[in-house]
Amino acid sequence: MAELSIVEAINDCFNVELERDPAVMVMGEDVGRAGGVFRATAGLRDRFGADRCFDTPLAEAGILGTAVGLCMAGWRPVCEMQYDAFSYPCLDQLITHVGRYRWRTGGKMQFPLVIRMPYGGGVRAPELHDDSPETYYVHTPGVKVAIPSTPADAKGILAAAIRDPDPVVVFEPKLHYRTLKGEVPEGEYVVPLGQARLAREGEDVTLVAYGSMVPVCEAAADALDGVSVEVLDIRSLKPLDEDALLASAAKTGRVVIVQEAPRVCGFAAELAAILAEKAILDLRGPVLRVTGYDVPYPYWQIEDAYMPSVERVTAAVCRLLEF
C-alpha cells in the first residue's frame, strides 16, 4: 500500500477507473491542461486524451447539463466543480433534471454521472471558496451524496460513485487535500456507498461527523482525558448507514453531531431527527449539534471562529456528560 494524500488518492482513483472503463470521462474547468486547480486530475489528459479529460467552458450549469446528454449517449461523465460555492449554478440542472431524469423515463435510462468538488473552509481563501453546501445536494431526490475524510476513502468512495448507476455527488475536504496522508490500497479499490466508518471505538459518547470534521472529532477525542469517545464517520449521507448510527447511539447513549455547514436544516438536523425518532430510549441526554453558524462563511481573518473547533466539541461533550 502506498502512503498518499487525499488529492493523490483521487488522482490514483481516476487513473484506475479511466483505464478500467472507456466510458468514463472527466470534465470541468481547468481539469485538462492544468490538471485541476488542486491537481486532482493531473496527467489524465496526457494519458487518456483531451476528449476524456476535457477542459470545459466556464459554465457550471452547462457542465452538468451536457453531462446529462453525455449519459444519454452512453458516457459516464465525472464533473468537477472547481469550488464548493462555484457549484451553485449547477443546482438548476441538479434539481430540475439530474435527480429526475431516470424517474421521468420510467426507470428506462440511467444517468451514471458524478459531481465532485473540493468543499469547506479553513484555507484562507477569498469569499465563496469555503462553503459546505452538502445539504442542498442531499435534499434533492434522485441524487446520492458522499463525503470521505481519509485518503483511502477518497479513492474508494470516488470509485464507488463512478461505478454507481445513479447520480452521485462527492464532496472532498479541501482543507486536508495535501495535509492528511494515509495508506491507500493500490489498483481497483471500492468503498461501497451507504456504509459508515467507525473511526474510533468508545463507550461514553459518540461524535458523529463526515469529511473535514472527522479529524476535529478525533482531536477532540484525544483531548478528552478520561472519557471514552466513539467517532463515527458517516461518509455516505445518502444512502445513510442508519444502522451504524443507531448502534453507536445505543452503545454510548450520548451523541454529539459535528457539522461545518450552517446549522439550520443542516445534515446534523437530519441525523438528530433520526435519533429522536428511533433511539429516544437509548439516549441519556439530548442530541447536541456543534455546527457552523447561520451566517455567510466569513472573511478568512476570522474564519477560525466560524469553524467548529476542538474546544467547542469538547465543551459539548462535557455538557452532555453532565446532563
Binding site: 451536457t66 446528454g69 440511467q110
Partner: protein
C-alpha cells in the same frame, strides 16, 4: 473555420402567396415526401385541436397549445434521420407521434399518468422539458457524446423565443459550439413568452443574430412555411454531419393561440393580428401549395384527415383505458438502487390509506 456572418434579416420562404406567386421548389423533395410532410402536419394539427377539446371536457389536464406551430415541427422533423435525437420543449409535446409514439402516450403525459413516461431511446425523443431552455445543454451533450463515440447521429433541440434569455440556452449553445457538436438549435420565435413580447426579451434585432456570438451560422425562416423550415433544417443537419458543428435556426411566426389552456391572451395580444395570422395558418398554406402543384386533392385530403382523427380516437380511448397508477410508483424509478427508507415509507402509506 469558415467565417460566420450575421443572419440575413429576410425570412426564408418556399411557399408563396395564396395565388402561387413566389412558390418555389425544394431540391430533391419529391411528391411522396411532400405528402409525408403534409400527413405529419395534419397529424400534429389534429392532435392539438383534439387536445384542446379533451381539456375542455376534463379528459386531459392543462395543455400547451401548438396550433400553427406544426410547420416548424414537421418541417424540422422530416430533415432528420431516424437515428437523430429530438429534444422537445412542452410546445413540441407530440412530436414523438411522428416517430411512431402512440397518441395515448402523449395524452397520458398530459393526463398526469405514468403511462405518459417513455423511454427516450425507443424513439430518440428526449423527455418533454418543462422548465425553459434547460434541455439545450442536454442536447449539446448528447450530440457531443455521439460525436466522441464516432457515431453519425445528430440532435435537434426545440425552444421558444423566451428561452434565448435563459442562461441554460447560452451555456448549451456555447458548449455545442466549442465541442463542435452536431446540433441544430431550433428556435420557435412565435413572438410571445406567455404575455411578454420578444421585444421585451432582447435588444438584438433578430434572435438569429445571437448565433454569430457563438461562432455558428444563424438562419431565419418563416415559421409557418413548412418547406422553409424543412430546407433550413436539412442544411443545418448536413452541416452537422460534415463535422462543422451546430447551427441556429430562428423560425418566426406570431402566436395565434393561448400559451396554454390556462391562459387568456386577450389581455395582452393583438387580436387583429391574430385574426390575420389565422388566415394564413401553416397547414392551410401548405395544402394550398400542394393543390397548386396538383399533388393534393379533396379525396386525399379527406383520407389523411380521417386517418389522423382515427389515431386520436384510438389514442384517447387507450389513454382513458389505462388502469389507475399504483401508489407504489411514488417510490419507483428515481434510483436504480433506492434508499432503504422507501420500503418502510411504502408500508406505512399502504397501512394508513386503509
Amino acid at each position: 473555420m469558415a467565417q460566420v456572418l450575421p443572419a440575413e434579416r429576410d425570412l426564408r420562404r418556399v411557399i408563396g402567396d395564396a395565388d402561387g406567386a413566389g412558390d418555389r421548389e425544394v431540391e430533391r423533395l419529391g411528391e411522396q415526401e411532400l405528402l409525408e410532410l403534409y400527413r405529419s402536419m395534419v397529424m400534429l394539427r389534429t392532435y392539438d385541436e383534439r387536445s384542446v377539446v379533451y381539456h375542455s371536457q376534463g379528459r386531459i389536464g392543462t395543455y400547451a397549445i401548438f396550433w400553427n406551430h406544426e410547420a416548424m415541427q414537421a418541417g424540422a422533423f422530416h430533415a432528420l434521420k431516424d437515428e437523430d435525437w429530438i429534444f422537445p420543449s412542452y410546445r413540441e409535446s407530440a412530436i414523438g407521434l411522428l416517430r411512431g409514439m402512440p397518441a395515448s402516450t402523449v395524452l397520458s403525459w398530459w393526463r398526469g399518468h405514468p403511462a405518459g413516461w417513455w423511454n427516450p431511446e425507443d424513439f430518440r425523443v428526449a423527455s418533454i422539458c418543462v422548465p425553459i431552455g434547460t434541455h439545450v445543454p442536454h442536447a449539446a451533450g448528447l450530440a457531443w457524446g455521439k460525436k466522441l463515440k464516432g457515431e453519425s447521429a445528430c440532435a435537434i433541440v426545440f425552444f421558444g423565443d423566451g428561452a434565448t434569455s435563459e442562461g441554460a440556452f447560452h451555456e448549451g449553445a456555447n458548449f455545442a459550439a466549442v465541442t463542435g457538436a452536431p446540433l441544430v438549435l431550433f428556435c420557435n420565435n412565435n413572438g410571445w413568452a406567455i404575455s411578454t413580447p420578444v421585444e421585451a426579451q432582447t435588444r438584438a434585432e433578430t434572435l438569429a443574430d445571437k448565433a454569430v456570438g457563438y461562432g455558428m451560422p444563424g438562419l431565419r425562416v418563416d415559421g409557418t412555411d413548412v418547406l422553409a423550415c424543412y430546407e433550413a433544417t436539412r442544411e443545418a443537419v448536413a452541416r452537422a454531419r460534415r463535422g462543422e458543428g451546430p447551427t441556429f435556426i430562428e423560425a418566426v411566426s406570431y402566436r395565434t393561440a393561448p400559451h396554454a389552456t390556462a391562459d387568456d391572451p386577450r389581455a395582452y395580444i393583438d387580436l387583429d393580428r391574430v385574426e390575420q395570422e389565422k388566415k394564413r395558418e401553416c397547414v392551410g398554406r401548405f395544402a394550398g401549395y400542394l393543390r397548386r402543384a396538383g399533388i393534393l386533392h379533396d379525396d386525399l385530403a379527406s383520407s389523411i384527415a380521417a386517418e389522423a382523427a382515427e389515431a386520436m380516437r384510438e389514442g384517447i380511448k387507450a389513454a382513458e383505458a389505462e388502469p389507475p397508477a399504483d401508489i407504489e410508483l411514488l417510490f419507483a424509478h428515481a434510483y436504480v438502487d433506492p434508499p432503504s427508507s422507501f420500503a418502510s415509507d411504502l408500508e406505512e402509506l399502504r397501512r394508513t390509506r386503509g
